[in-house]
Amino acid sequence: MNTVAPFVLLSAILFTIGVIGVLLRRNAIMIFMSIELMLNSANLAFVAFSNQWGKLDGQLIVFFVMAVAATEVAVGLALIVTIFHTKKSTDVDDLSQMKG
């Protein structure tokens, strides 16, 4: 089992599911989790390619992606909490003040 293809295929499937999740769910937390799924699928692809070429760089990228994901979650969840305090809702459709 040394081919990279199945992993990338899985990665693509997971990514698409994540995308659809982002687009279909209206709950901000759900959207966030779908984004995590997308990040994760990308990570999987990185690791698979890293394994294929025998280079560590792919894994290091994943490491940084995780760091950024953690950051994003921290700030994003803080935002959600703040918004919930004012709007009593985590529905992103309620946040349409920017409409033209």
Partner: protein, 657 residues
């Protein structure tokens, strides 16, 4: 010696500067005295120039750099020769007398100081015009006298009609001036110079008759002359110009400024002689103008309007003479006309002054009672009267009330009518003789005009001085003071004897002007037949006027005997509807066009287009704005669409390779 040449211009300039800046603290006498003496000094210098340069070529040239661009080099250059000296003497001589007259006439006017500033400016400008040695500098004087005319016609500007008349004069003159300036442009493009001697030398070197460019130049210059010298079709401003104070009418609109066109054509005679076609046009326009204005003068009631149309008519004589190449006769008539028409105007002013005496009398006594400088005297001639003091129907019988005025008016009138031995006889005779010899059509028109002249001046004399007074004002008119009558007497003397200038046989003016205009322009020998014929005709017409008007007006409201002419009478009274045409067709069209351009085309069309572009952008963006729903998911969807498209592009383009 060189600088001396510009002294005649400098004196009035100094006078106007002193009066303009310090006049506020000066008395009327001082202001008027200063202005008059400055003109007098100019006259003396001119006379001195005459004696020092007399006989010889008499040319003094002085030039100070002015405009110098590339090949265009026009200096402030002055050319003093026999012709300009003649004009200088007329301008400063008649001008000086009118200045003195004005001291009396304008007495008590709140803008007395300003009046004399303008008058001095006029003298200076007129001198620039006649002394200039290039077309451009002449144009400077030409426009500046137009400015003075504008300022002086609208002198009593609080009456909007006066201001209106001033503006009309300026604008109509400007129309002519554009012709003049186009002529100048063409001269420079053709000859590469604008100074008179150089241009004339090059024209003579061309040695061509009716070269198209010369015809064009002369016609354009003539357009300028029709404006300034009130020829068809641009004469309409001159009758209105009578709104100005009477000394102004005498000086500017009779004796000097309006003759600038004749002076210019005489000055540029080299060009005109080289373009006989233009000459014919000029002669015909002049003769037609003489005829038209003479016929209109028959029917006018305003004492000054009659004189104004008479002036136009006489200017027509001069222009016709110039057109026929009889430059000496033209200048001769210019000189005699300056004397007798100035005399007539000033005498008319005296009449008006007398007519206004009744309404002014009370104020006068009031003023003498309390002569404080703070008490502003009422304007003397601002035209606020119950009875129009210029309407001849309100006059009558003034010969007993104003005997001196009557006498000088008669002298002026007889000179105008062409009765020997008064000045007008000699000069008019020369022109008519020349016409007889050269152009029968012009002769015919001028002959009829001459007959009209005798009739209308006769009519005026009868209406003003004979019969019974037809108004309170006329009944109580008094003779004017000495400041006004002394110049009248002087002018009357000149109007009587000015014929000496060019008496047949003596021909002093002809000989004097030969170096300038050449032998060909000299007057023809005296034609005793023509002279007799016209004297008889004039006598007949004077008698006719006497017979017709002696008893026509008993009271002011009576109909004029000429109303029997019916429609023709109205046609003449309205001055052939020329002015009506200008006012109701051209001016109205201009108003309408201007309003259309400003309101419709500019606001709606051009600005509308610009704003339309702005509105379009705004509307398009307003509809595009709807795309921004504010819903994160829809943005996400758009993003995904973009991602799919971009990825698809890369994938497909990669697989294409």
């Amino acid at each position: 010696m060189q600088l001396l040449v510009i002294l005649p211009i400098l004196f009035p300039l100094v006078g106007l500067l002193i009066n303009a800046f310090f006049g506020k603290h000066m008395s009327e006498g001082l202001i008027g005295g200063l202005a008059s003496s400055m003109v007098g000094l100019s006259f003396l210098v001119s006379a001195w120039l005459l004696f020092t340069s007399g006989g010889g070529p008499g040319i003094v040239d002085l030039s100070i750099p002015w405009i110098k661009v590339g090949t265009l080099d026009v200096p402030f250059g002055f050319l003093i020769d026999q012709l300009s000296l003649t004009m200088m003497l007329i301008v400063t001589g008649v001008g000086g007398l009118i200045h003195i007259y004005s001291i009396g006439y304008m007495h008590g006017d709140p803008r007395f100081q300003r009046f004399f500033v303008y008058m001095n400016l006029f003298i200076a400008s007129m001198l620039v015009l006649v002394m200039a040695d290039s077309f451009l500098l002449m144009f400077v004087g030409w426009e500046l006298v137009g400015l003075c005319s504008y300022l002086l016609i609208g002198f009593w500007f609080s009456n909007i009609h006066n201001a209106e008349a001033g503006r009309k004069a300026f604008v109509v003159n400007r129309i002519g001036d554009v012709g003049f300036i186009l002529g100048i442009l063409l001269i420079f493009v053709t000859f590469g110079t604008l100074t008179f001697p150089d241009v004339f030398a090059k024209v003579q070197a061309m040695n061509a008759v009716n070269a198209p460019v010369v015809v064009a130049i002369t016609l354009l210059l003539f357009v300028g002359a029709t404006g300034k010298s009130a020829q068809i079709p641009l004469f309409v401003w001159l009758p209105d110009a009578m709104a100005g104070p009477t000394p102004v009418s005498a000086l500017i609109h009779a004796a000097t400024m309006v003759t600038a066109g004749i002076y210019m054509m005489t000055r540029a005679h080299v060009l005109y002689v080289a373009a006989p076609d233009t000459q014919t046009v000029v002669a015909l326009v002049g003769a037609l103008t003489a005829f038209l204005a003479g016929s209109v003068a028959l029917t006018q009631f305003d004492i000054k309007k009659v004189l104004a149309y008479s002036t136009i008519s006489q200017l027509g004589f001069m222009v016709a003479a110039a057109g026929m190449g009889a430059y000496v006769s033209s200048v001769f008539h210019l000189a005699t006309h300056a004397f007798f028409k100035a005399l007539l105007f000033l005498a008319a002013g005296s009449v008006i002054h007398g007519m206004e005496h009744l309404s002014k009398g009370e104020e006068e006594s009031e003023r003498s009672g309390a002569p404080g400088p703070h008490k502003a005297p009422a304007p003397a001639h601002s035209g606020e009267h119950t009875v129009d003091p210029q309407d001849m129907r309100n006059m009558g019988g003034l010969r007993t009330r104003m005997p001196l005025t009557f006498v000088v008016y008669c002298i002026g009138g007889l000179a105008l009518a062409g009765m020997p031995p008064f000045a007008g006889f000699w000069s008019k005779d020369e022109i008519v003789s020349a016409a007889l010899a050269r152009n029968p059509l012009v002769f015919g028109l001028l002959a009829i005009s001459a007959i009209f002249t005798a009739f209308y001046i006769g009519r005026q004399l009868v209406m003003v001085f004979f019969g019974k007074p037809r108004s309170e004002e006329a009944a109580h008119a008094v003779e004017s003071g000495s400041a006004m009558t002394v110049p009248l007497v002087f002018l009357a003397v000149f109007a009587t004897i000015a014929g000496i200038l060019n008496l047949p046989g003596l021909d002093s003016l002809s000989h004097w002007l030969v170096p300038v205009v050449g032998q060909a322009a000299e007057a023809l020998p005296f034609n005793i037949g023509v002279a007799t014929l016209f004297t008889v005709l004039a006598l007949v017409m004077l008698y006719g006027a006497w017979a017709l008007y002696r008893s026509a007006y008993v009271k002011a409201g009576d109909a004029d005997p000429l109303t029997r002419l019916g429609g023709l009478y109205t046609f003449l009274l309205r001055a052939w509807f020329v002015d009506w045409f200008f006012q109701n067709v051209i001016v109205k069209l201009f108003y309408a066009g201007s309003t259309f351009l400003a309101r419709v085309l500019d606001i709606g069309g051009i600005d509308g287009t610009v704003n339309g572009v702005g509105i379009m952008v705004r509307d398009v963006s307003a509809s595009l704005r709807k795309v921004q729903t504010g819903l994160v998911r829809s943005y996400g969807l758009m993003m995904l669409l973009g991602v799919v498209l971009v990825v698809a592009y890369f994938v497909l383009s990669a697989s294409m390779r």
